[in-house]
């Protein structure tokens, strides 16, 4: 490589002994040693002691010369770091940020590809570690509720909780008595600050529920089936008896969409800016008249768990932290950790004045909003909300300017509807099918396979290193490596086949254990 500053290399520092400034501890140590020697023996041995002392100080000086130029910050060079190396990161936190497993290493000969893959894997590992370390700096912690020895958490009443916490949190438990306009459906905005209420008989109101400020209140003179905020607190959609209407946050009607008739339920996809009736989460919870609650994994379309409820749940809502709330009649029950472990009894329960019509967790707060026949109730559920929000995504404390900037950026990043797929990481994977097709086309066009492995021809080395035996040895080495690759691949394939076979057999066994009426005829 070109090195323009070659002149500086000529001067070296090797062999030069730098004279260091005297350090305060060196003098102290010398004095200590001198005192020791004097105390121990006087007279004859003092000369020897002095010599020894001199040797020691020489050695100490040399050692210090070696050590101190390297690190000017150490106070005492002899002490070593009791915790060497970088701080360890807990495994579960590292796991949270893991995206994908390491790729299979490409062939030995593809130097550039190997280099690129190794570099990118290093970079993603570093990013993973940095993100895991940053977790330490998060300001808030999640809420929790623990009962005493004999107390059951589901027996604790809302009033008790409201008294036990501070005033502002206690004020988050409140009731709005609105018995005139029918049972209420509700929706919280994405940041969790604004609440939209829609009564069956046409009353629609949007409020900032924390400060209890009313933003708008209208009566649409028609029956309202569902209400939903759009991407910001500036617009919302109301599914009225005949058509779908979109209103401004001041209550002004913006659009009337006549194509949607008799909409019963709505869902807004924030990243696609689509209003639909689709589920955007990983788990789907359904309940039915058969008094069973089933949890499905949306990616694999398989039911994970099934619970028995005393009555069919009419409304369900899933919180950010994985709490599930189910409402039957006028009782609301909250279950913890539904998706990971089997649950027998509810985490919390609350009884209301009217039948529950709508249920929604507030995004970044420990609050569950319930719309019922008698109005609206806000219930405290410790541990429901995500304590640390991301300022660039949904920020409850954003100013108007920040909201505008965020809106523009979000609209620019809007995901096109063609990218909606079952596997969200599909785009990041190599498109194997069309690659194979293109490879076949290329083989056809060129007449030979450009990617086929060339036969290994060992390099001719000078100075007698290319004797017949050495060449044979090198050839055997490469042949063994390739054989090992083949064997490894075949073993992996076999293991995969085994696993699949076992899965199939297990499924069969599971099915066959189901009792049927014809079992008695089987031998």
């Amino acid at each position: 490589m070109a090195s323009p500053g070659e002149a500086s290399v000529n001067e070296t520092h090797v062999g030069k002994k730098k004279k260091l400034p005297a350090r305060y501890w060196q003098e102290l140590q010398e004095e200590e040693r001198k005192d020791e020697n004097k105390v121990k023996k006087d007279g004859e041995q003092s000369k020897e002691a002095l010599q020894q002392e001199e040797d020691k100080t020489q050695k100490a000086k040399k050692r210090k010369q070696d050590q101190s130029p390297s690190d000017g910050e150490k106070v005492k060079p002899e002490k070593s770091d009791p915790f060497p190396g970088p701080a360890p990161i807990p495994e579960d936190r590292l796991q949270k940020f893991k995206r994908k497993d390491k790729l299979k290493k490409p062939h030995r000969k593809q130097h550039k590809l190997r280099d690129i893959i190794a570099r990118s894997e290093d970079a993603s590992e570093m990013a993973q570690k940095q993100a895991a370390r940053f977790d330490l700096l998060l300001p808030e912690e999640a809420g929790f509720l623990e009962g005493d020895e004999d107390e059951d958490t589901c027996m604790i009443s809302q009033e008790d909780i409201a008294e036990a916490v501070d005033i502002t949190s206690g004020a988050k438990y409140f009731n709005l008595k609105l018995s005139q306009f029918g049972p209420y459906r509700l929706d919280y905005s994405k940041t969790g600050r604004h609440l939209l209420l829609g009564g069956r008989r046409g009353h629609v109101a949007c409020i900032d529920w924390a400060s209890k400020q009313l933003m708008c209140e209208i009566n649409v003179m028609e029956s309202v089936n569902d209400v939903k905020w759009l991407h910001t607190e500036a617009m919302y959609a109301v599914a009225q008896k005949k058509w779908l209407y979109i209103y401004d946050s001041n209550g002004i009607e913006l659009h009337c969409i006549r194509k949607f008739n008799d909409v019963l339920r709505m869902q807004f996809l924030p990243y696609h800016f689509l209003l639909a009736t689709a589920v955007s989460s990983q788990y789907m919870v359904t309940s039915g008249m058969d008094k069973k609650l089933k949890v499905y994994d949306v990616r694999t379309f398989k039911p994970l768990k099934s619970y028995f409820l005393p009555a069919g749940a009419a409304c369900l809502s899933l919180s950010q932290k994985g709490l599930l709330s189910a409402a039957t009649g006028d009782v609301v029950q909250v279950y913890k950790d539904v998706c990971s472990m089997p649950v027998t009894k509810p985490y919390m329960a609350h009884r209301l004045r009217g039948t529950v019509w709508g249920l929604h967790f507030c995004p970044f707060e420990d609050v569950l909003g319930i719309g019922h026949g008698d109005g609206f109730t806000s219930m405290l559920v410790p541990g429901a909300g995500e304590p640390n929000f991301d300022g660039l995504d949904a920020n409850p404390y954003r100013s108007a300017k920040q909201r505008q900037e965020w809106e523009v950026k979000a609209l620019m990043e809007k995901i096109q509807p063609d990218l909606i797929s079952l596997d969200p990481t599909e785009l990041a994977q190599v498109d194997q099918a069309t690659w194979e097709q293109r490879h076949q086309d290329r083989v056809e066009v060129l007449g030979f396979d450009p990617l086929a492995k060339e036969k290994f021809v060992p390099k001719y080395k000078k100075k007698g290193r290319s004797s017949a035996g050495a060449i044979e040895r090198r050839k055997k080495q490469v042949a063994h490596e390739e054989q090992r690759d083949v064997i490894r691949k075949s073993v992996e394939d076999k293991m995969k086949m085994e696993k699949e076979r076992k899965e199939r057999e297990r499924k069969k066994a599971a099915l066959s254990t189901q009792k049927s009426a014809l079992d008695r005829f089987k031998k």
């Binding site: 912690e141 949190s169 990043e413």
Partner: protein
Amino acid sequence: MKVKVIARNPDDYVRETKLDIQRVPRNYDPSLHPFEVSREYTRALNATKLERVFAKPFVASLDGHRDGVNCMAKHAKSLSTLLSGSCDGEVKVWNLSKHECVRTLQAHEGFVRGMVVRYCGTSFFTVGDDKTIKQWKMESPGYGEEEEPINTILGKTVYTGLDHHQNDPVFATCGQQVDIWDEQRSSPIRSFTWGVDSFSSVHFNPVETELLASCASDRSIVLYDMRESTPLKKVIMAMRSNTLSWNPMEAYYFTCANEDYNLYTYDMRYLAKPIMVHMDHVSAVLDVDYAPTGKEFVSASFDKTIRIFAKDGGHSREVYHTKRMQHVICIKWSADNKYILSGSDEMNIRLWKANAAEKLGVLAPREREAANYSQKLKEKFQHHPQIRRIARHRHLPKTIYHQTKELRVMKEARRRKERNVRKHSKPGSVPVVSEKEKHVVTVVK
């Protein structure tokens, strides 16, 4: 009972005064950022589209020569100075920041064939069609003084190329043979010949400063070591090379601009097969110059376009053309890696940006971060078909567009014929010759 509910203090999340910046707490948890791959893909798509929107590479045109610009020389120490020699013997010194000519001098009668600035930056050398080598001072002459060269050397034959050593007061010229001159002597200290009657250009290696390379008229490239008395070796190709350029970062790579519309990058140690064949021009390539980073180079061609190639890329990443720019004779990449200077047949020197969509000038830290982020996203998703289609799209003049299609058809036909011959003859009798090996005839030591 033990209970804790999330209770945020707004003072921690809202700024204290209007004069502060807003607080933005971050949480990188992937569950708070769903659809990350799709969102990144959309951002990459937007970044690629915006790059095409902001791709405006032409900066300025330096007007003033009265005949076609034949050669250019970069000033060794000053980024804003350029020297250019034209076909009527005029040499002009330009100030690039003001886009104006600072000094004009009549150097030769006839073409100015080669120019180079001495490494110290105080003087420059020119060779011309009047068989002379002249050395001039870099400073303008004072009031009332005439433009006089410091030194003139008369030769017997026309000199066609000139280059100066990186550190020593030695320069080399080529014409009928390659001569090494000492600045104090008026006759060459060494001459290299190899049975060729004319050389078109000579270039010193900027890293291994004792090595030279020259392009000869017998379609070969000859390598020399200044310390030896005979040339080292030469590679003979299918067609003649016009010039070559050494990679300023890798000591042994050089790229030659060939008449068969391609450029070839060779490793000096293994001349039998070029490292890379760079194909994209539709007419003879006249000049080539490397970027100071050694990762890219720019080529000027007879087909009125300039192309920028990556050092290991078979096809160009960028093409510049203008209706007003005719055959581009000489090209230089500025020493700060940001600009490209092209001198063409219609007496103009044009200044272009090396990265067409780059914002020049000082960037604020957030601007720079946003630009780096967009760049990384574009690289990550560059292989996706939609993004690749947008990033590759360039407008070409109609002649060049049709010419590229025609050349592709011709290449396809040749390939098909070769394949058919191989298919219908005994297996192994028609060996597979890779594209790289096809263009080299032989290497002579």
